[in-house]
């Protein structure tokens, strides 16, 4: 990664492109923009960016398809932008490999926070190393050693609880859809049984969060899935 992270923004709204370019350049990012899906795919191949910001309402290609075609050859983090009324498209894009989403209209702090998470992820993806120990506040999760400590004290987790936490922690900062969590932690046949996920998440929060009702690590993404927050 160069000193100036390279962001590719694919959006057909000139006003959004203008605003994002101005703000991101101000924040010392290098910005490339595309207003069509095909153009975005070509630019991503010609000059691989560190993060891709992709609007789901493109005139030529379905956002989900752009995600799928990018994922054929690159692990570059993708943040999708969606309108509130296109929940399903958002989930579909995440299932196709997008890392995160933002609902329009969004605040710039929110976007910058997502970019920071994505860039960390991007660095990991490029180093091709998987972190084996994930630290978040007073939690330390040793993925290889199957040990979780909170304030230095070991937390006893059941096998399923650990698999769930490990999957979320290994993808720290990313939004994981219900479907992808169920397929990874339980069984690909169980992708519609969200109730398992809800119940085990409640168990995990009781064991790991200071206030299980106001979680800070294990966050619910309404209608989409869950996210493990590191900072």
């Amino acid at each position: 990664m160069s000193a100036q992270p390279h962001i590719l923004v694919i959006d057909d709204e000139p006003q959004i492109l203008r605003a994002l370019r101005t703000i991101l350049v101000e924040k010392h990012f290098r910005v490339t923009t595309a207003s069509r899906g095909e153009e975005g795919l070509a630019l991503a191949a010609a000059n691989p960016p560190d993060v891709i910001i992709l609007d789901l309402g493109l005139p030529d290609l379905d956002g989900t398809e752009v995600c799928a075609r990018l994922r054929e050859w690159t692990l570059t983090p993708i943040i999708v932008l969606s309108a509130r009324e296109s929940e399903r498209d958002k989930v579909a894009a995440l299932d196709q490999g997008a890392d995160d989403y933002l609902t329009k209209p969004f605040g710039i702090e929110e976007l910058l926070a997502r970019l920071r998470v994505a860039l960390r992820h991007s660095a990991r993806a490029q180093n091709k190393t998987k972190a084996t120990v994930v630290k978040a506040g007073d939690l330390v999760i040793d993925l290889a050693g199957h040990v979780v400590t909170r304030n230095g004290a070991e937390v006893k987790l059941t096998a399923t609880e650990f698999r769930l936490l490990a999957y979320l922690a290994a993808n720290a900062g990313r939004v994981l859809t219900h479907q992808s969590i169920l397929a990874h932690v339980w069984d690909p046949a169980e992708v519609d049984s969200v109730e398992y996920l809800r119940v085990y998440m409640r168990q995990l929060r009781k064991k790991l969060e200071d206030d299980p009702r106001q979680p800070v690590y294990l966050l619910t993404e309404p209608g989409v899935g869950y996210r493990f927050m590191v900072d």
Binding site: E85, T158, E195, R198, R202, P215, G223
Partner: protein, 487 residues
Amino acid sequence: MSRRFQLSSLLFYTLAIFAIAATAGVLHLLRGSLSTPTIALFFLLPVGASAVRGLGPGLTAAFCAFLAFNYFFIEPLYTLVVHHTQDVLVLIVFLIVAVTISQLVGQAQSSRAVAEAREREATHLYVLSAALAGLRDYSEIARTLGEHLQEVFHPTTIEIIIQPAGHASPATYAPLGGSGAPASQAEHVVLLTTPRGKMGEIHLGKAQALSPANERLLQAFAHQSALAVERATLAQAETRAEVLEESDRLKSALLSSVSHELRTPLATIKAAATSLRSGDVPWESLARGDLLGAIDEEVDLMNRLVGNLLDMSRIESGALKPRREWNILAEIVGGVIARMRLAAQRHRLDIDVPEDLPLAPVDYVQVEQVLTNLISNSLKYAPPGTTIRIHARPTGENAIHVQVSNEGPPVLPEHLERIFDKFYRVTAADRITGTGLGLSICKGIVEAHGGRIWAENLPDRFAFNFTLPLTLDGMAPPSLPVETEPV
């Protein structure tokens, strides 16, 4: 029926002949004491009586009487020969009188029959048009017409098709097995037409052809029904026009509400943005922070308004189908509270939603929105510093009851029902912001889940209540086998 008619007329002819024969017999016995003119007069009686049965029997009786009178009573007896000129005259006069009587009586009879038939027709028509009056539904019209046709014409098959021009699917009535009369039968097809065009058709299967009178009656039935169909069509068009007018009225209420609500934040944003651009506001000043804060807040407000409008239109078009999955209500409430913490910082929140409630089959995002709208409504009306309470319990009837209550002013009983109506406001519009859609969206969502929503005044609080059924496709909440053994 015409076969029966032939039989009965044959009977009348026979009766006429018998009547003459009987009269001749009786008079023959009494001939000693009766004069010839008296006998002639007596013969007129059976002629008149026979003429009542029709012109044919009357004339038959007249000629038979003439022959019998001549044969039995005019000299020379038992021949048809007449010697005296006077007798010839008597016979001629007799014949003329007999024929005239039978003609007059016969005509009177047949015109009475015609009058009766006309009256019957008129009665049938009257009964039909009375039955059709006020019918607005095509299949009702078809059924009514069909029943009357059956009663009057006794058809073997009947099929009625009502389909005014431009009407997609026809209304049909075919109680006797529908169209396709057997080949041996005559099928009468009559179109229902009005000056506006074809309204439908009648297919009537009968063993024989219809009499001209019945043909005419059938046409009159068709005409009456066509008019009824036309009336129904016009009435439906009128109803549609009223519905359109009502929806127009709602749309303009929406537009005026929306333009007012959207323009207020726009005015703030415009003022703040132009002020910041003008360079009059120093970089490091409190005013600058205030202006930027105002822009940010007003944009959020506009975003909520637009969201409400979208939700309302989705509810109205039936596109807001809940994606029901087994969820933990406490988790949903927790998410809502976390996001509303800032908005609710001037109120106290008292949350009583047990973790161990049964799993609820709800759309997470939609129930989140119901709670958000109810809490934000409470925040708007309850004075700062008071408590907003969120309370959930299972009811006895397989549902969860959620109550969001606040210490705001009570609502007059007549408003309690209507506060969930679109654009309904208890308070004057300029005192409280919002589109007047938040509560009606709650109602739309709760009802889409099969639940109920209502508002009530408690002794010291005002409360919104809603229920969420606990069954999904007839299934009760699952209780999952949760592992308890740590690894």
